[in-house]
C-alpha cells in the first residue's frame, strides 16, 4: 500500500525523479566491480533482489544514488552501477540528507547495518526518521559486527558470547522496528534476506513512499553469526513464526491457523479457531500504535516475527519543506546582492 492508497495526500516517493522508456535489466545495475562478500553471505541475496527490483521502477539509472556508512553491508554501493558514496561509519543518513535536500530529482538510498545505523550512527538515524527526509534506508541486521570480525552488536541477544564478550554480552538489544516507530518514522518495514518476494514487495512500497522509509532486513552472517535466522528459513518453523502483515487485511499466519488479536493495550497470538473473526486485528499501516504493538510481538528469540510493512503514512518530508521555504523566499523577494551588502545604514566618503 502506498500513502496514496491510504487516501492520504502527498506526492509519490519518486515524484520528480526522471524516468526512462528504455527497458532495464538487473545486469544494467551491476557495476564492473567484483563482489567481495564472504561466500554464503546474505548480502548477495539482498544485492540481487535490489538489482532485480530497480529496473521495475523505470527510473533513469543516473538519478539513483546509494550512500552507505562502514561495515560489510556498506560495500553495497560499489556493486551498483548507479551513483554511490561509501562514506564513514554511521554518517550515511546525514550525508544523504544533504544530498536529498539539494537534489529533488534523485532517488536516494542508504545502505547500513546494525552497528552502523544503531550504534555509531544511532543519532543520525533517529533524527533522519523524525525529520522524514525522503530516503530509503536498508538496514541489514545480522546481529553481529562482521567487518571487525565478530564483536556483539546493538541487536545481539543478551548474554551473547563473542570475541569481545567471552563471558557474555551485558547489553540489552534494540528492536530496530520499535526504535524507528519511536522516532515516528513514516514508513517501517521488515523482510528476511532469503524471502525474495517479501523483500521485493517491501522495497517496492518503500520506493513509492515519500519520506523516510526504514526497511530492516534480517541477514545471515555465515562467518560470525551463522544461522541467526535459521528458524525463519525452515518451512515448518517459519509457518509458526512469521506473521506477514498486509494493509487492510486480517492478520493471520501459519496458513490461517493462527491470528493476531488485541490483548489489553497490546497484541497477542491466538488460534484462529478459538476467536471470533471480528476479533482478528485488521492491519492498518496508518495506525502507529498498532504498528508498535506489532513490533513488540517480535523478540530476540524470533518466536513471532512480523514482516511486511508495519507503518506507511504520509507526512511532509523535510527536504520538500526545505525547498518550499527557499522557493517561497525567492518568490517573496528577488535576490539582490548589492542591496543585501548595502544594508540599511550607510555613509559615503566623497
Amino acid at each position: 500500500m502506498t500513502a496514496t492508497d491510504l487516501g492520504l495526500p502527498g506526492l509519490g516517493g519518486l515524484a520528480g525523479v526522471p524516468v526512462t522508456d528504455e527497458p532495464q535489466k538487473a545486469k544494467d545495475y551491476k557495476s564492473d566491480q567484483e563482489v567481495r562478500w564472504c561466500p554464503g553471505c546474505g548480502d548477495y541475496v539482498v544485492l540481487n533482489a535490489v538489482q532485480s527490483f530497480l529496473p521495475t521502477l523505470g527510473l533513469k539509472r543516473e538519478n539513483i544514488v546509494f550512500i552507505s556508512g562502514i561495515g560489510c553491508s556498506s560495500r553495497f554501493p560499489y556493486y551498483m552501477n548507479t551513483y554511490g558514496m561509501h562514506s564513514i561509519h554511521g554518517r550515511a543518513p546525514a550525508i544523504a540528507t544533504g544530498l536529498a535536500v539539494a537534489r529533488p530529482d534523485l532517488s536516494v538510498w542508504v545502505v547500513t547495518g546494525d552497528g552502523d545505523a544503531l550504534s555509531i550512527g544511532g543519532n543520525h538515524l533517529i533524527h533522519t526518521l523524525r525529520r522524514n527526509v525522503n530516503l530509503k534506508i536498508l538496514l541489514f541486521n545480522n546481529r553481529i559486527y562482521g567487518l571487525t570480525k565478530g564483536q556483539y552488536s546493538p541487536t545481539s541477544e543478551e548474554g551473547k558470547i563473542t570475541k569481545s564478550t567471552p563471558l557474555g554480552s551485558l547489553d540489552h538489544p534494540f528492536n530496530p522496528v520499535s526504535l524507528a516507530l519511536g522516532a515516528e518514522a513514516s514508513f517501517v518495514g521488515r523482510a528476511v534476506d532469503s524471502d525474495r518476494a517479501g523483500l521485493t514487495e517491501v522495497l517496492r512500497q518503500a520506493a513509492e513512499h515519500r519520506g523516510s522509509a526504514l526497511v530492516e532486513i534480517y541477514q545471515n552472517c555465515p562467518i560470525f553469526n551463522d544461522g541467526a535466522f535459521d528458524v525463519l528459513k525452515d518451512a515448518d518453523e517459519a509457518a509458526q513464526r512469521i506473521i506477514n502483515v498486509v494493509h487492510g487485511q486480517p492478520i493471520t499466519f501459519g496458513g490461517g491457523e493462527h491470528a493476531v488479536v488485541r490483548d489489553g493495550f497490546g497484541l497477542a497470538v491466538a488460534r484462529t479457531a478459538d476467536v471470533a473473526p471480528e476479533d482478528i486485528v485488521v492491519h492498518d499501516a496508518a495506525d502507529l500504535n498498532l504498528a508498535f504493538a506489532l513490533s513488540r510481538l517480535s523478540t530476540q528469540d524470533l518466536r513471532h516475527t512480523v514482516t511486511g510493512v508495519f507503518r506507511n503514512t504520509a507526512r511532509t518530508t523535510y527536504d520538500d519543506a526545505a525547498r518550499a521555504q527557499v522557493d517561497a523566499a525567492k518568490e517573496a523577494k528577488a535576490p539582490d546582492l548589492a542591496a543585501l551588502l548595502r544594508g540599511k545604514d550607510t555613509w559615503t566618503v566623497a
Binding site: I67, A94, L341, R342
Partner: protein, 631 residues
C-alpha cells in the same frame, strides 16, 4: 527635543556654551550586568559613530552564562568601542571613558581605566547588598579610592524611572530602559547623531510601541541630563575619519562571513547548503544565512556537528556549495568528515570561529589555538587549505577566497575566524558586486577515460583537481568513498605504491594552490625586524608597529591570510630580516610551522587570556627586539 539637536550639531545652543574639546580618538567601554543591555548600548553607539563617519573598531566581551547571577563579577558584560578621525586598527587597549552600571562592572573594569580617565557610574545600584556581593567593604563612591579618576555619579535608574513616570509603565519595566539613558548621555557628550537610534528603537520594538517609546524617552532623558545639568563642563568632538572614497557600512565579522558565503554562492552560480549545529561564537553565521533563503540558501540545523558537516558534504556531492560553521569543539567532531572530503575531493567550506580551548574552554572569549588542529587534526596525511581573515570586514573576502579554493581545487577549506572579529565590528567599504570574483564552476558532462568510461580521479593537469561529476549526469555513474582509490579510475586500491602516490598527490594538490604573495608593510624600508601574524591579531600588531615606528624604530609587518599553503614568497621574506617575531594568541602554533618549514629562528610571543593583544604590550615586545638587533 533631541531630534533637532542631533547630528552632532554645532554646540552653540548647548548647555550655556560648555567647552567643546576636539579629540582625534576616544575609547569608551560600557560595562554592566549581563541583563543590562550593554551589548545593545555599545552596538547603538557604534552605529552612531559609523553614521557620523568615524573609523571604528569594537570589542564585545560577555560571559558564557546567559544570565549569570545578577550583580556578580562573573555576570559582567562589556562592550568597548574605539572611534577616531583617522583609520584605526584595534578596539583600543584601555578605555578613556568607563560607564559602570553597577559595583560589579566597576570592580571588574576599573583596573583598565587609566588615571585621569572618565568614570560614569550608575549610583542606584551601589547598594550595600550589591557592594557586599562583589567584596567591597565600603562604597568606593564615598571614599577616596576613585580619586584618580574624573567621576560622574548619575542616578541613572532613578532618573530613567522619573522620565517614564507618565508612560504608565511599571517601575521595573521603566528601570530596564536605563541603558538607553546611559547611551543618551554619552551621545550628548560626544555630539553623536541620534535619529538612527530612535529609528532603531522604534523598529526593534515595533510590536510593543509603549516599550519603544519608553526607550526613546529614556534615551532623550539621558541626552537632556547632559545638556541641562552643570556636572559635565566639557563635551567632545571626534571629526569624521578620512577613509578611502566610497560608501561604507558597519559590519561584524560573523555578518561579513555570512555575506561572503551568500556572495560566493551567487558568483559561483550554486545553491548553498549550510549544514550546521549551534555553537558559540559561530551561531550568528547560521542566524544570518537563515534570513537569506531567497538567494538559494538552505540552512539545515542538524542533530549534531557531525550531521551538520555530513549534510554539507552530501550537498556538495550533489553539486551545491556545502558549508558548515562551528567553533573548535565542533571541528574536533567534524574531523572524520573533513577527512572524507579530502579523500573524495569534494568542495566544502568549513568555518571555525575559534574560541578559548581546550574542551569547552572559554566559549565567549577569543583565541587562535586551532591552527594546528586545522592543519593536522585528522588521521592520516590529510592536507587541507587553511585561510584566516584579519578583521571583521575582511571575513567577507576570506569567505569568497575559501569558496574559490574549494570549488576550483575540489577540496575542503578551513576558514579560521575567531571570537574577537566574529563579534567585533568596523566600517566596511561596500564592494561593487560586479567586481567580485567570478567563481563559476563546470561540472563534468562527458566520459573522460578509456573506452568511454568515466574516471572520477583523472585530474586537471594544472590544478590537479578531479572532475566534479554530480548525480543525475548520464553516463558518469561512479562510486566514491573513504577507501583509498586507484589514481585515475578511482576504483578501490590497496596497492602499496598507489597509496604512496595518492598521498603525495593529495599533498601536491594542496601545496600547488595559488595564493597571492604576502605583502610586507615596512614604510621606511630600513627594518631589520619582521613581525609576522595571522588572523585577528592584524589590528593590534599593525597598531603596535605604528607606535614603534613613531618611536623611531623601523619594523616590518607581514600578515598571513593563507596558512596552508603559505604564500610562495614567504621563505624569501623571512630570510630578509635579522629577527622574526611571531605574536599569537596560542602557545606558538604559527611559529612552530614557520620554524619547521623555513628553519627560521622565530621569536614566539604568546598570550592566551581570551582577549586580543593590546597594541601597548606588542609595542614593548617589538621595541625590545628591535633595540636588541640595533645594539
Amino acid at each position: 527635543m533631541t531630534t533637532d539637536v542631533g547630528n552632532g550639531a554645532a554646540p552653540g545652543g548647548r548647555n550655556g556654551g560648555s567647552e567643546v574639546r576636539k579629540l582625534d580618538r576616544v575609547v569608551i567601554r560600557f560595562a554592566g550586568d549581563s541583563g543590562d543591555g550593554m551589548q545593545l548600548t555599545g552596538d547603538r553607539f557604534t552605529s552612531e559613530a559609523a553614521a557620523f563617519g568615524n573609523d571604528l573598531a569594537t570589542l564585545p566581551n560577555f560571559p558564557a552564562e546567559i544570565r549569570a547571577p545578577q550583580g556578580t563579577l562573573p555576570g559582567v558584560s562589556s562592550f568597548q568601542l574605539h572611534f577616531a578621525d583617522y583609520d584605526i586598527l584595534t578596539p583600543g587597549d584601555r578605555p578613556d571613558v568607563l560607564v559602570a552600571m553597577n559595583p560589579a562592572a566597576l570592580k571588574a573594569n576599573i583596573g583598565d581605566l587609566p588615571k585621569g580617565g572618565m568614570l560614569i557610574v550608575n549610583t542606584d545600584e551601589f547598594t550595600k547588598r550589591n557592594l557586599v556581593k562583589v567584596g567591597y567593604d565600603a562604597n568606593p563612591l564615598d571614599d577616596a579610592s576613585l580619586e584618580a579618576y574624573q567621576v560622574h555619579k548619575v542616578a541613572m535608574a532613578t532618573l530613567t524611572i522619573g522620565a517614564l513616570e507618565n508612560t504608565g509603565l511599571g517601575k521595573k519595566d521603566a528601570e530596564r530602559a536605563k541603558n538607553m539613558f546611559a547611551l543618551g548621555l554619552l551621545s550628548w557628550m560626544y555630539h553623536r547623531p541620534t535619529e538612527g537610534t530612535e529609528r532603531f528603537l522604534r523598529e526593534k520594538f515595533a510590536k510593543k510601541p509603549d516599550i519603544a517609546e519608553a526607550n526613546v524617552l529614556a534615551f532623550r532623558a539621558g541626552w537632556n541630563y547632559g545638556e541641562t545639568t552643570e556636572s559635565f563642563a566639557v563635551t567632545y568632538e571626534v571629526a569624521p575619519a578620512k577613509l578611502n572614497l566610497g560608501t561604507y557600512r558597519q559590519i561584524t565579522g560573523n555578518t561579513a562571513l555570512a555575506y561572503g558565503i551568500v556572495a560566493a554562492g551567487q558568483r559561483a552560480g550554486l545553491p548553498v547548503v549550510l549544514g550546521t549545529y549551534p555553537i558559540t561564537p559561530a551561531s550568528d553565521i547560521l542566524h544570518e544565512l537563515s534570513k537569506h533563503k531567497n538567494f538559494g540558501i538552505t540552512t539545515l540545523q542538524a542533530e549534531d556537528e557531525i550531521a551538520g558537516i555530513g549534510a554539507a558534504l552530501g550537498a556538495s556531492y550533489g553539486g551545491a556549495l556545502g558549508v558548515t560553521s562551528t567553533s573548535g569543539p565542533g571541528i574536533a567532531l567534524k574531523s572524520e568528515t573533513i577527512g572524507l572530503a579530502v579523500m573524495t575531493e569534494l568542495p566544502l567550506v568549513v568555518i571555525d570561529v575559534q574560541r578559548g580551548g581546550p574542551s569547552t574552554g572559554l566559549p565567549t572569549k577569543t583565541e587562535q589555538a586551532d591552527l594546528l588542529q586545522a592543519m593536522f587534526g585528522r588521521n592520516g596525511e590529510s592536507p587541507v587549505p587553511v585561510i584566516a581573515p584579519q578583521s571583521p570586514a575582511d571575513c567577507f573576502d576570506a569567505a569568497l577566497d575559501a569558496v574559490r579554493i574549494a570549488v576550483k581545487y575540489r577540496t575542503p577549506v578551513l576558514l579560521l575566524s575567531d571570537g574577537a572579529i566574529a563579534n567585533g565590528s568596523e566600517p566596511w567599504l561596500i564592494p561593487d558586486v560586479a567586481e567580485l570574483p567570478d567563481l563559476s564552476v563546470e561540472f563534468a558532462t562527458e566520459p573522460n577515460g578509456p573506452d568511454g568510461a568515466f574516471w572520477p580521479y583523472l585530474r586537471d593537469p594544472e590544478t590537479l583537481a578531479r572532475p566534479w561529476a554530480v548525480p543525475g549526469t548520464a553516463g558518469l555513474q561512479h562510486r566514491i568513498g573513504g577507501l583509498e582509490k586507484a589514481d585515475g579510475s578511482g576504483n578501490i586500491s590497496y596497492d602499496p605504491a598507489n597509496h604512496d602516490h595518492m598521498v603525495r598527490l593529495r599533498q601536491r594538490k594542496v601545496d600547488g594552490i595559488e595564493v597571492p604573495d604576502v605583502e610586507v608593510d615596512d614604510p621606511s624600508g630600513a627594518a631589520k625586524v619582521l613581525v609576522v601574524g595571522w588572523g585577528s591579531s592584524y589590528g593590534p600588531i599593525g597598531a603596535a608597529a605604528r607606535r614603534v615606528r613613531k618611536l623611531g624604530l623601523p619594523v616590518a609587518h607581514a600578515h598571513l591570510r593563507h596558512l596552508n599553503p603559505f604564500p610562495k614568497n614567504l621563505g624569501e621574506v623571512l630570510s630578509r630580516y635579522e629577527r622574526v617575531v611571531v605574536p599569537e594568541m596560542n602557545l606558538g602554533q604559527l611559529a612552530l610551522l614557520l620554524r619547521a618549514k623555513y628553519l627560521v629562528d622565530a621569536i614566539s610571543y604568546t598570550k592566551v587570556q581570551g582577549l586580543p593583544f593590546k597594541a601597548e604590550e606588542l609595542q614593548d615586545v617589538l621595541a625590545e627586539v628591535i633595540k636588541g638587533v640595533s645594539a
